[in-house]
Subunit: 630 residues, 2 copies
């Protein structure tokens, strides 16, 4: 752990930006086929090499004439011309229009020699004497002359033009079929850490293995920023192997990112490789999170070391690396990169370094001014922060706090991120999961009923879903609810013959509980109070006798899964869960699950959609909500 001193002299965020800017990660320009050019950026100016149209072109269906033959013609006194032939689009004219004659012509066809105007068919009649022209036209009428749209030699596009469908249109018109574009920066991603397993691989949790989150997350970020990501195999924490991989990545890519383990030994190894095979420009940045960021060069390639925790890695990537990739690709900052909002709560801060604070968004009204911003701080190690936060607010090192209502700019994690249509908090429940499936982009944080009530009281979420007894009510609009049967989930067939809560106290059974935030836990405790009352004792005397009462797990299925694993004889849970997991079930009681809405948001579309979903489920209109009971 001797490398810990590396991070004592932290660089400012500005110095980190400067260090990244000093790296050259621009690839060579290249030529791509027109049909693959969308989203690319022109590397050079394109001048028109031909006239568009390339010939004098009829703008309407009608007759090609000499304008002088029509002078004075009108409805009452048409000019009658001899029809000498027809010119179709895509064919070379085989007639010449002389005085007193005309040729039928299609839109887009070449104006035949001798003609200098076109009369639209609506102003003509076919007569026995010839074509009656019922209007006068001037030379050039209904003709687009060669080069009128684009003249050969004129400037069509400047360098740096982003190619969207409309640019592809003009390039097509100019006959351009390969396009000179800025190259795509290639970004190698080397992940480190003995404990990482690629998604899809076999995971040995007992050996502390976890799935590698950063590699694919950062690769997706690289592609979103206009780069091409190259994933390298895991290096573990072995120096020689890591050196080989980093050097290979530097040979093949414009930029190398390392990411993965947070262990000091892995950081140590990377540090030594960069020092020996390249140059370290900066180690440690005065931001939270992301202190252990490295910037340097590795052979001829640029190098940035990202922190190990996913939210930290994505935050540092988004703040310092993505702009450099976009710059190298020639792409502009996305218009949707930021959102304005105001703080939903007061947030204190006083750590003396810039904070890149993960935040969530909730729409509290119609305008952008009504976007509320709340901090999401579950610890950087939580991957759920990735999807519970929408972006980051940069808080200066010398800011002590952000006031409630203060305006802030949120840098979205990616341009495609949008505020959820509904922010719900509270109890977890299998029927609720299915209800949420019927809403568009809801966000639901299963913080338990107690936290749910508290947060609703603070005014941030749209709804709280709560169950179980409570001491303290909350000012809210009840949107409806359902009941659920709870009890003890036991192995299939109930081999131990568990009969009820009293067995947990009186027999030698291993129990798994839920945490105190869960409504289910409150129902359990209320039931234990009743049992204690019947036995004329205190609840704590009973709970002290329950093996595992203090062993709490997070999700509504978690106790049942412990039972399935053989780690427990009984778990606190729902009948629906026991059914889903093919376990046995010992019923204890029923409790009501209520959906409570923030009184200011009952008209919000996401809230009314949830209300309708609850109603239609109660009506039995939806077959798949089979665990649903009114």
């Amino acid at each position: 752990m001797s490398d810990r001193r590396q991070f004592r002299d932290l660089a400012s965020p500005a110095a980190a930006r400067e260090a990244v800017d000093s790296l050259d990660l621009s690839p060579e320009p290249e030529r791509v086929p027109l049909d693959e050019a969308r989203g690319r950026v022109l590397a050079e100016r394109i001048d028109a090499e031909l006239d568009v149209p390339g010939f004098d072109r009829a703008s309407v269906d009608g007759y090609a004439v000499r304008a002088s033959d029509t002078f004075g013609a009108d409805e009452a006194d048409p000019a009658v011309l001899d029809l000498i032939g027809t010119v179709h689009a895509g064919a070379e004219p085989d007639v010449e229009v002389r005085d007193g004659t005309c040729a039928e012509i299609s839109t887009g066809a070449v104006l035949p020699p001798g003609a200098d105007a076109v009369v639209m068919v609506e102003r003509t009649d076919e007569t026995d004497a010839g074509i009656a022209i019922r209007t006068s036209v001037a030379p050039g009428d209904r003709v687009m002359v060669a080069g009128a749209d684009v003249a050969a030699g004129s400037r069509a596009f400047g360098p740096g033009t982003l190619i969207t469908p409309r640019e592809i249109g003009l390039l097509s018109a100019l006959g351009v079929d390969t396009v000179p574009v800025r190259g795509t920066p290639t970004v190698g991603i080397v992940s480190t850490g003995d404990e990482l397993v690629r998604p899809g691989g076999d995971l040995h949790s007992e050996a502390g293995q976890i799935y590698d989150v950063n590699s694919y997350t950062i690769a997706a970020g690289v592609e979103e920023a206009g780069g091409e990501a190259v994933l390298y195999p895991h290096a573990g924490d072995d120096y020689d192997e890591m050196e080989r991989l980093l050097v290979e990545a530097a040979d093949e890519c414009d930029l190398v990112l390392s990411s993965g383990s947070t262990s000091a030994s892995a950081v140590d190894v990377i540090y030594r490789v960069i020092e020996s095979e390249g140059e370290l420009l900066l180690h440690g940045v005065s931001v939270k999170p992301g202190k252990p960021m490295l910037v340097g060069r590795l052979e001829d390639s640029a190098y940035v070391g990202l922190p190990g925790y996913p939210v930290s890695a994505l935050t540092i990537f988004r703040t310092f690396v993505a702009p450099a990739i976009r710059e190298a690709a020639g792409l502009p900052e996305p218009r949707t990169a930021t959102v304005e909002g105001r703080m939903a709560v007061r947030e204190r801060y006083s750590e003396g370094r810039t904070r890149l604070m993960p935040v969530g968004l909730v729409e509290a009204g119609d305008g952008e001014a009504d976007t509320l911003v709340y901090p999401v701080d579950k610890g950087s190690g939580a991957t759920t922060s990735l999807v519970e936060a929408d972006g980051i607010v940069e808080v200066d090192a010398d800011t002590d706090y952000l006031a409630e209502g203060e305006r802030v700019t949120v840098q979205l994690f990616s341009p495609d991120v949008r505020p959820p249509t509904l922010l719900g908090v509270g109890e977890d429940d299998p029927a609720l999961s299915r209800l949420l499936d019927r809403l568009e982009r809801p966000r639901y944080l299963d913080v338990g009923s107690r936290q749910g009530r508290r947060r609703l009281r603070d005014g941030v979420p749209d709804v709280a879903v709560v169950s179980g007894p409570t001491d303290r009510d909350v000012d809210a609009v009840d949107l409806g609810g359902w009941t659920r049967e709870w009890g003890l989930v036991v192995p299939a067939g109930n081999p131990a013959g568990v009969d009820g809560l009293a067995d947990l106290v009186d027999r030698d059974l291993r129990f798994v509980n839920r945490a105190t935030d869960a409504g289910l836990r409150a129902s359990l405790d209320a039931e234990l109070d009743r049992l204690a009352n019947r036995r004329a004792t205190e609840r704590r005397d009973l709970t002290a006798a329950i093996d595992g009462y203090e062993l709490t797990v997070k999700g509504f299925e978690s106790p049942a899964r412990k039972v399935l694993d053989g780690a427990a004889d009984a778990g606190l849970g729902l009948r629906a869960t026991a059914d889903t997991l093919d376990c046995g079930f010992v019923p204890v009681g029923t409790e009501s699950v209520r959906v409570l809405a923030n009184p200011d948001r009952t008209d919000k579309p996401g809230v009314t959609a949830l209300e309708r979903a609850v109603e239609s489920a109660l009506d039995g209109a939806v077959a798949d909500l089979d665990g649903f009971e009114a």
Copy 2:
């Protein structure tokens, strides 16, 4: 042309939307690898199948302890514990922590059996007696328990979730390596018309051939909307071939779009194929442009016929088809699909059908409220409208006019379109082309000096670039300029021995002129006035004697190219052009090119950037501006 009657009963835009909505173009869901899932949309809910983390995990580097061993410990009176081993991240613990002992542990490592908390290394010391723990910890401190981040069985994502890097992060954490996503609708594009040639092919302009603009443009639009475009070879106007291609496209795709020729015969053929092989739901929509839109079914596939002109085709695609493709792909409407602005000029309208008016955008200040919107109406046949317009404003059939300053919503042609940083209008000039290359995203409309002055007077553009004599000045800020030498461009070596303007009058030479909007033309006419004066006659007597004086072409290189083609003996042009095209040059005069800024916009970044570019070019700082003379 008998099918013209098809379009008499035009459907309303709402009916057209309804008809398109009634088509089913949703493909089957599919599974894609996680690293290809960005930008896709989840087809179903994903619940966590495992706990994250999968084990009780150390959150810091430090020592795994039994919390009860640390009770009462502080800086002054540390608890000293025996070190019994080390647990690394990614390794299974091989020690058990008992009373009075501890194990060194890395961040991310498995908490060894017996331990219930971790003390961070900063609060410890290695001593001869053992590890000195200088703080008390509670059970669970610095430990993330199994499932604390995500509990197995909990709802991770709902159906319809757009997959961005952060979703890829949580999917990685859950070990998901293939993702169930909505299918990508495949869209076949069949272009029709004998005159169309794919970009890159040989173009026979004399036979009225033009490059196919719509196929690649619409294909790019399809991909932008989340579909997969399939281009079919050109069908020409042959019924059997077109039928074969349309049926093949219908067999292979969810949606077939036809596009291309505007000729009545091509429309006729398509109409008959759809009627015989499918069902026509709607023909003709009451919108301008785009009247000849078709909606129907072709075998089991959806079918939409787009108008032939590129701007019309892209407008109808964007308005009616792109939303259906996004819907089928499950993608939301892009947040950047529209921009608010106000009309820069009054625009009259009274055609009794909805108008999808192509407009350009210009930033007249800092806010969105300062975005000016001006109509771009060059006729639908002009492909340059594609890049000169940024989007469309939908004007109701019963709106008579849009007032200057009226607020309008612009539907951008594509979400990536942005207002240019500079809107310039006026003279075309080769030195100006190179200056513009140094600006970011400028838009320059070469409408000539006369129109340039007029538009600057109307207050729409940021700058006008003008040259040549004028009767009427404009209130503007002069940002600088340069002079250019003009005269007659002749074949290399000047084989006809052209000596000056008088030769055009006196000798039998074929001349090519510029249009009256060009500053160069005004300079020519002024010089002819002087010649007429010397000869005591009128200019019109001279011009009548010049063969080709009335033959005007569009671009600054166009007359010289006519000379190169052998179609003329002399053309009005610049010495710089003659040099570029290796022609001869007969000097006549010099004229000043001035860059004039809108007085209200001199601080606009694009304007100051242009001013700097002019200055640095005049300083001779830029080698490539060799045609540049102060």
